[in-house]
């Protein structure tokens, strides 16, 4: 980040920005750790139960896989752009973005299915926490989508991007994938107990 006042040189280099993102992601992680621990405590206290049918589990896991693919696509896009400055890289970023969107709509659909199957957030606190975690993840994903879209627009129009920005947006995107995988696995394991 640079000051508006160009007379003031700031000693802010790439590593500083990277560290900034790392600490930011660490703080976001703390938010989700708190949600997850609360979820765990609710399971331990047997406040309520969630039973997922095989189909439900398959849909949930399948949707999460979309996010993994999206992350992989972003990574290939970045690598191509970095290596050969390939003009095709914007297609990868676009497909990554679209998969992210599909994932988000998938989450909303799953939520509706679960609610209509009787998992109400009001009466079942475990369901409530699950929706909360998915929702909080979704909100972060939404900002991520804006960034990824921005990268795509730049690439598509051929506007040069700072490699660092590209890389850090990638970090954020992969972080969101990893975060959801961990949250989902933890939830699926905890509700079996």
């Amino acid at each position: 980040m640079k000051t508006m006042d160009s007379t003031v040189p700031i000693q802010c280099d790439e590593n500083t920005s990277k560290l900034g993102i790392i600490i930011l992601l660490g703080s976001i992680t703390m938010l989700f750790i708190t949600f997850l621990s609360t979820f765990g405590a609710m399971v331990a206290k047997e406040l309520s139960y969630i039973k997922l049918s095989g189909t439900h589990q398959a849909i949930v896991v399948g949707n999460a896989c979309l996010m993994i693919v999206s992350s992989l696509l972003f990574d290939s896009g970045f690598r191509q752009w970095q290596g050969t400055k390939s003009t095709r890289s914007h297609r990868f970023i676009l497909s990554s973005h679209i998969l992210g969107l599909v994932f988000l709509f998938g989450q909303i659909t799953i939520w509706q299915i679960l609610v209509s199957d009787g998992l109400q957030s009001g009466t079942n606190v475990l369901a409530g926490m699950t929706y909360l975690m998915a929702g909080a993840h979704g909100v972060h994903l939404l900002t991520g989508l804006v960034f990824v879209a921005w990268v795509w627009v730049q690439l598509y129009r051929g506007i040069p991007i700072k490699p660092l920005r590209f890389r850090l947006i990638g970090w954020y995107w992969h972080f969101l994938t990893g975060l959801w995988i961990i949250l989902l696995s933890a939830i699926l394991i905890l509700i079996q107990i």
Binding site: D5, Q11, D13, G26, I28, T38, A41, L47
Partner: protein
Amino acid sequence: MSEHQSVWRKYIFSLDHKMIGKQYLFLGIFFLLFGGFQALLIRWQLAYPEQPVPWWLLGFLFKGSGGIIDPDMYNQLFTMHGTIMIFWAITPILIGAFGNYVIPLQIGARDMAFPTLNMLSFWTMFLASIVLLASYFLPDGTAAGGWTSYPPLSLEEGGIPGHGQTYWTLALTLAGTSTMMGAINYVITVIRMRAPGMTYFKMPLSVWGLWLTSILNAIFVPVIAAGLIMLLLDRLLGTQFFLAGRLAAGGGGDPLLYQHVFWIFGHPEVYILILPVWGIVSELLSVFSRKPAFGYKVTAICMCTIVVLSSIVWGHHMYTTGMSPLLGKSFMFLTLLISIPSSIFFFNWLLTLWKGSLHFKTPMLYTMAVIWVFAIGGLTGLYNATVTADIYLHDTMFVVGHFHYTMAASVLFGGYAAISYWYPKMFGRMMNPLMNRIHFWGTFISLNLVFFNMMVLGYAGHHRRIYNPAEYDFIKPLMGLNEFITYAAIVLGAFQFIYLFNFTWSMFKGPIAEKNPWKSNTLEWTVDYPVPHGNFAEIPQVYNGPNEYSNPKVKGQDWVPQSVQIESAG
């Protein structure tokens, strides 16, 4: 430099850490006065329950309730007093103002690592303030569930109606976001932007304190954010995370979960508030004793140890919630462990004074006061930490006395020390020492009378947060003491205007300050007032630790700037 900057850029949306620091300072002082006023109203009710509020406490505000403070208002008052003092006064002054002002200057950086984020942090705080203040105009009034806002009290079901609590939650979430932005910035600035030669163990202890505070903030503010979000959903969207029993029709969660989440954040939070003060005290004691901070490294390491320990002791706030005795004892053990590093650096303070050449300039007076009030506060913490004692003391005025000594008094004196010490660099003029001395003694004496007697009340069984103490037979004999505390509190409040006057008056009329009026070693004193945007014409090279006072190798003076090699000095 940058004469062409617009007023807008220079004073309002400034990116300069020094200007942002001042903005935080003014915001904090405003809320300090506001919170202090509410404290006096609380004291009025405790001394003269249900008697009309006098005109000099703005009695006309209570016309609607026949001139008296009614129970709802009373709950709102102590809730907002606590919330405002902690998050809108101490945090902006110590962390927002001095974190911003001092860190880059003392580590030899041109600015924060992310100046734009820094500006956004202040304006997010400003927005949070507006939301908070707006809640005073709601028909049902402000939040009223205490600064801890435990559910179910803080929920609509069987709790507090209206939107005040909702505004409170939103304002706090915004304030937390602002704190996070600041914290991330400070942590990185210290890690990445130190001037060449400024190793971690050459940083002034004031920077250590602010840095460790920011680390705790970056880790634990998200925790309370999670709790607040759940609370908000319970209030607005009908989830029942924190509702149980009859209140939770059908489903239900557990209100205790909130207490855990709150204190997992809350205990680190109290250290967040005190760490900057510890750092500033450690640094100033050395400056005004004209000798190196005793056990500098040990002090720094002790502070780090406390940071780690502070995150695993939260249960000591919950001894009476029916936790298993084993768990209670474990939390007690961990809490008592903290007293080891605390005592070590406390003795380091005393040993810094030992055989020093003490200069009782006003910042030093305030610093010495911190030693006294923190000693009392810390020691009373041990009683609270002991399960057997706390089962009796919990939720009494003893706890209120304890945390006002540790938090309010220490931070107040630490803040006054910091303001008086850095005033010459911030505003280019000196504060009037006589006025400060008068303020110091008036504050010191009345403050101890207020807070010490609160502990006496609590020891005698006086609960905290009760509306009309005179309704309880066993408290009736204590009402005289309640009145006495209120007198002392009024005196305490009155003396603060001397400081406020001095603060404002000196800005225009104080004698022009020299570049280094306290003969300090740290880097901020090597630059002239007004310090330009960008701070240093050339980034300094650091050679010495911050506390090389009275070094025999330095001839002719008892100090040497960190950026001057000792051999070549004097």
